[in-house]
Amino acid sequence: MNTNEFHLMQLADSFFPSGMFGMSGGLESFVKHGKIKTERDILQFIQQQIRFQLAPCDCIVLNEAMNAAQDDDIARIVDIDNRFFSMKLIKEIRNASIRSGPQMMNCVIYMTSNKENKFTRKYQGKIESKQSAGTYPVCLGVSANCLHISKQSAVRMMLYSYSVSVIGAALRLGIIQHLNGQWILTQLEDDISTLIKDIPRKSLNDMWQLTPFTDILQMDHEHDDSRMFIT
């Protein structure tokens, strides 16, 4: 195993401190409203979120952030970051993104040498001075570039981590068992592998997102008095 693969495993591991364990990606609200009850419902929910939210939006941002980080172009990073932040309609999604992203990046800075993380620290400075939002996909892109992870692997990892966090939430909400979770992940492999092929050909101008029902339920979730998850 080379160093890049090892770092990829580190970042993709639910043990990596990014705060993702506290998020259900809207699942909790779907369950509360009786819209999701089975492992097939969860699989379908994740597939739709990936197809209509993560692949056409978050993944493009991640890929573009890695391109900009490779070019050492901090102004472009800031632009990507703030554009993505402005696209997030749900307050708690925005807050969760700018809370977990910089924390994950702090850890990568701690893991690496000053020489390796020079650009990452430059971006961190932009976040701390409030010039850049510090969204999760941009922080992940800059971090993955710092760790020499390939763009395709980084995109795959983000989709994998998202899927695991939703499945983890489903387990804790008690709607599936541990074996169901692994079955769902296995079913997602084909979808993820197919979708990530198109990402390098997309630019920021190709970004879109369309998950209105999830958005509405997540807005409802923000005001819910009884809940386990941040989103």
């Binding site: 043990f15 401190p17 506290g22 998020m23 259900s24 001075s129 409030k130 386990m228």
Partner: protein, 221 residues
């Protein structure tokens, strides 16, 4: 040029469900406030926003001791210990936000969601850790131990008024606390009446704030 905000002392309060964490904070904050110390509270809740909402009502709306936006609720995804120990990312992010928003605060109180006896705070998150249990489960605690009871900076044993009714012998609890904590401090309190809570405030002022004077007098009142 951006300058890093000042690091505000952080107090972690953990303990089992119903042991009195929220009530302890509700009793502590007015005492600290009277002495001029300004606090912010982060409340990690396992299933609801009830604790944060109750503190907002009691400490902000009714008594106006602190502004409502200085009481922040965090959902923990059903993993209260993860949120304060293995992966405190979200709590740390909120602490950073508070430190940037008001660097003149004297103290940030971080309340854990109700958890088990192995609760501890990551040292990256809390500078001082209070673990609170109550007598209602009998006098087997603190004897049975656990990371929270053994490693905390201050053990608080609450609801001593109930000892009589549940057959808990406070002298046994005192003896066992001394033994298991190797003479580290512990206090008996009744958070309902406030009995003993002044001593908890003294521990915080002496051992966490190092007797520093408040940064500024309360401006909200």
């Amino acid at each position: 040029m951006h300058t890093r905000s000042r690091s505000i002392p952080k107090l972690g309060i953990g303990g089992p469900v119903g042991s009195g964490k929220t009530r302890l904070i509700e009793m502590l904050v007015p005492i600290l406030s009277k002495k001029g110390y300004r606090c912010c509270i982060i409340s990690n809740d396992v299933i609801s926003k009830e604790d944060a909402e109750r503190m907002k009502r009691i400490l902000a709306t009714e008594s106006k001791i602190m502004p409502e936006d200085m009481i922040i609720g965090i959902a923990t995804g059903g993993c209260p210990h993860t949120a304060i120990r293995e992966d405190p990312s979200i709590n740390l992010a909120v602490v950073n936000e508070i430190e940037q928003k008001d660097p003149t605060l004297d103290l940030i109180i971080i309340e854990s969601g109700g958890d088990n006896i192995m609760t501890t705070f990551s040292p990256a998150l809390a500078d001082y850790f209070i673990y609170i249990v109550d007598v209602s489960g009998g006098d087997k605690y603190p004897r049975k131990g656990g990371l929270g009871i053994e490693s905390c900076d201050l053990l608080v044993i609450n609801k001593i008024d109930l000892a009589l009714y549940v057959g808990a012998d406070l002298s046994i609890m005192e003896h066992d606390a001394k033994l298991i904590r190797s003479n580290k401090p512990f206090e008996f309190v009744n958070c309902k009446t406030g009995l003993g809570v002044n001593r908890i405030a003294e521990h915080i002022i002496n051992d966490l704030l190092f007797n520093k004077k408040p940064l500024q007098k309360m401006s909200h009142k």
